[in-house]
Subunit: 354 residues, 4 copies
């Protein structure tokens, strides 16, 4: 992009979220290429056609794809197509759709109700789902169970196994409910489970997927991936109406196309996962740190002594630490996290806890 | 972006809209630069701070800025902050908010009513506004006049003069209404009028501006510019809830920052305007063509014989021609339109009409 | 109701609307009877079963009936079941749903768009409907034509003939639209046309009817009558959610039951119509008055000299007169209007115009 | 109402809810009187003026009153005026607004979030409220705590003391939240506490009250009582738009007027409370029955052996019994419950448990 050689980047010190990363060079290049010349708007362009083909390839079947600018939009649009306004969305109490969207699902659905369920590791307990899926079905005084929303990877960085997904999905389908997957970190899940995208989604009963790309190397491109394609016309109107039909769609599609090309998305995700494992292993070896979960993907929770937390922050490291029990910290790695980043952080913790 | 020298671009043949253009190289570079290293999400990053400063500079005062991914989102969010659900939005019948948003304003406002007014050149007639602004005010049976939405440049490519804006705004303010400007082609208006952005907006009574950048050189970045800053907290919640709070906001802000830097936005717009004038003058000189308006900005309407239209399309030129009276065609130029593009088109028309 | 004999009522002087009347004695009695003893709530009571049977009898087939407390609720609920949020409702520009509901249809539908059509006597012009029913169908940028709403009797007191209803309905059905009838004065229409309720509704293609009773002798009971019964489950949830599922539903159903029993509804309506004809004939005979339409039902518009209007108001007569052209007055008669009421008014006009 | 003397009513056997009762004779008479002659629509009538004066008298100050047709409408309208769409409503998890409105609050508010809190006897725990009232205030990613909704009498028939109300209200006000009271059984609460309506509402910080009358002797009339009168214009538009502005408002107002005249409302409520106490005392004396709470108002929960439940149902008694733990039954008394009704039921239980 520039004739001057950039200086080697300083250690990246922010572990608050994978949304603090920049973008993959392949994606930057794709966007720059897309900037040239004319093309048709609103998804009739070449890059959108390319991205659509790539999605079909990756998911092993034709799917419909609506590029969107945020994960909130992906989730809220998906849910709006899966529940009537008088329906309810069964989700984990700690799920992003329930806690971090400022009511976007309620807005897009026209006032559906989010019903919070519990379960370890931010995973929905299947027995709770079984009860909730039938609760007051047909009773006109109650919001009607309509869709279950499964977050994969979960808010605590845990993974549902394929079996767990299928069990939830079976319960939902038996009760006549639809299945949504919030895949803000879908790539990290696929990379960690070593399964195919198909196995994790439509083959397991998922009707609509919020497909995250932004956190894992893209800039501003996520997507709604529609397996139940009868929903697509409705979703297209909803997307336009929600301000999510981009005129120069090529710039979103170019990101998604590059993301899915040559396995970039899985390489990025696998790298982030490895970095989290490295971080987890490093922390486990330190007597002052206590890991709270196994490290399934690219996020981990760890307990640290408060003075250590304070000093790490003072030294310029950033991470969330005051949202849970005292001493509990969250660390998220990304495609751009380096071994050097992890080791520099571990070195600091080692020094402060010894 | 690539080591190979690209071939010179072929003539750009699409005149359907300025959204068929790519992006300015300065903006591509800014996005590529923004892709490096870590930064804070949700607008706490350096590029957003930079963009905000640039907007303040351009508008001659502090303003609040919410980057959004589409003009539809800019319009619908702005209107939602300016009318209650039981309010009405007074707008031209042909305005984009009334005809081309698939009801996004109705959705974001919670069901406000768009009241279509008439007027030449898609400009709101001030006397019609005067009547409508007071119609059934206080009558609980009727939607309440709440905001006037002014499109500058209009749907037919015409410009409101500063005086015209102020007259509409005065009528609105006297009736207790707020003023919104849909500035999807705001730059083209400023360039054509030779006024300051301040004169065209807050000094003329505009409360909130939909600031378009995408059509004029950016990729996927428009903005809500808030002059009545008391509205900003509400707008921030509304934007998040609408899926318009981008995690990697730096990629939108970098576009906006570069757009406003060193006058790129006005250079681009002035160029597009000049190209439209060139096209208009060329068409005027042809006996088979009949221009329907003066060319104020970067859009023009022209009557052509049907066989000429058919042949132009057959030769690969693209433009809208079947949405109005028979024979009426619309042509839009952009920052990327070249003299060569215009002249090649004029040459074709000349050949076909002679 | 009381042991004392009431004084004979003074002449009724209010002609603003038929909603200024009280209630028919039969309906008062039915409500009083319903007040005794226990019964099940939410429509599982005997009066609701009775009313349902009566509706089936009157319409010549099974129908579903949702009692509601206002005509606004009937209209808004009906439309919400007939259009998606991104749909449009084609209606006459002067129709009640467009002008007098404070946006209730927009609210209940989740932001659908009301598209105003023109036509004489507040009747939708069939050619305008033909165009509007197809306008931008399938275009994701535009609200989608979804339902036509026909007001029978119209806002100017005119009647659609059966043929006119069927023509509108045919155009709608061919374009894939649904048909709603706003029957706030449905009884007056049936009485005036001398047709069956079936002919005027489902046999003419009407899917859902807003059935008005309040204006014609009931107290606070209107109903949504559903011919396309597949819509009923959705309507039931929508009604509950809109605060329209009454716990002591028997009090609404008792009104509707009595209203439809022994032809009360048609007797009341025929009487109101006759009173309007009497008023119209009387006015026609006066040189100072000028009737603006034929008198089809129970409403008429008449031009009077301003001094006459002023004096009539001063003498305590009430009617609308300042909503249209200067001198234009509206008069509405009801089931409770007497010949004495009409003649007293005519006498006053005669005195003032001679 | 009828010239024949009605037979003495059989024992009333339905204890499912107080909404199975008919209406008080005073209210029937008021409605019948209101049926005579003409009056102005939409609340400009004499009965509405009378009702308003009565409310002022009862609450010891001027208040605004919006008659509505259901408690659901009262609650949903009230909440819509007290929270923005991006706000949250803090309420007990078992409250009617959360569990039995089919999402009416979500609909009317434009998608606000109901946040369920816990607490014994369906009363909100004040410490939970303290935490929830501040949770993520100002965080754009989260719905914003905006209003607390207090149900008095609660869903389990318990009463908040005046002190408890004030404590909740103080916590709310310190956090900048508004206070709503769902008073579907407001009269039962006032009668039981022996306080003034003022003490229980505005003097304790309540901004808007859902005032129930239907369950306690009226037919189809509840009301929104507004203490923070700045909210009234907004509420008026919202009510119209929600189909809750009744044309013949006199019929609702006549009910409310009679309800508040000469203490009818408190006599009715006190009677219902006494009947519940009689029932509770009777059940306490039976070894097979186990009361689950003290009897505060007109509702009680009691454990009975399953065979007893089955036999009572078989004998024609009606009550809810399968919504909670096995064997738990709910009994509700009303203004129309007689000693004979209670004693007949107790006699049956005695017989079956002995």
């Amino acid at each position: 992009m520039s004739s001057t050689t950039p200086a080697p980047p300083a250690t990246q010190r922010i572990f608050t979220s994978d949304n603090t990363a920049g973008a993959s060079p392949e994606i930057v290049r794709a966007v720059a290429d897309a900037a040239r010349g004319q093309d048709l708007p609103y998804g009739a362009d070449r890059h959108t056609a390319g991205a659509r083909a790539r999605f079909a390839e990756v998911f092993g079947r034709d799917v419909d794809v609506l590029p969107v600018s945020t994960g909130s939009a992906a989730n809220a649009l998906s849910l709006a197509a899966l529940t009537p306004p008088w329906g309810s969305v069964l989700c984990h109490r700690d799920s992003h759709v329930n806690t971090d969207e400022c009511g976007a699902p309620e807005f897009f659905t026209g006032g559906a109700k989010l019903v919070p369920l519990s379960g370890d590791d931010a995973k929905i307990d299947v027995e709770q789902l079984r009860v909730a899926a039938h609760r007051r079905a047909g009773d006109v005084h109650s919001a009607q169970p309509s869709v279950v929303s499964i977050t994969q990877v979960t808010e605590t960085g845990a993974l549902y196994s394929l079996d767990e997904i299928r069990r939830l999905s079976d319960v939902a389908k038996e009760a006549g409910l639809r299945v949504h997957m919030d895949g803000a970190r879908f790539a990290n899940a696929v990379a960690a489970l070593g399964c195919t995208p198909a196995e994790l989604t439509w083959q397991a009963g998922v009707d609509v997927l919020s497909f995250g790309a932004t956190k894992n190397g893209a800039m501003t491109a996520d997507a709604v991936v529609v397996f139940d394609r009868a929903l697509t016309p409705e979703l297209s109107f909803r997307a336009k109406r929600a301000g999510q039909l981009t005129s120069k769609a090529r710039f979103q599609s170019a990101q998604l196309d590059a993301y899915l090309t040559d396995g970039l998305w899985l390489r990025n995700a696998a790298h982030a996962n490895v970095m989290a494992t490295r971080l987890g292993n490093g922390l486990k070896a330190l007597s002052g740190a206590r890991l709270l979960h196994a490290v399934d993907a690219n996020m981990l929770f760890c307990h640290l002594p408060q003075p250590v937390i304070d000093q790490l922050l003072a030294e310029g490291f950033a991470f969330y630490h005051d949202r849970w029990e005292p001493g509990v910290c969250r660390f998220v790695t990304s495609f751009s996290t380096t071994e050097q980043d992890v080791d520099a952080f571990l070195e600091a913790v080692r020094r402060l806890t010894s």
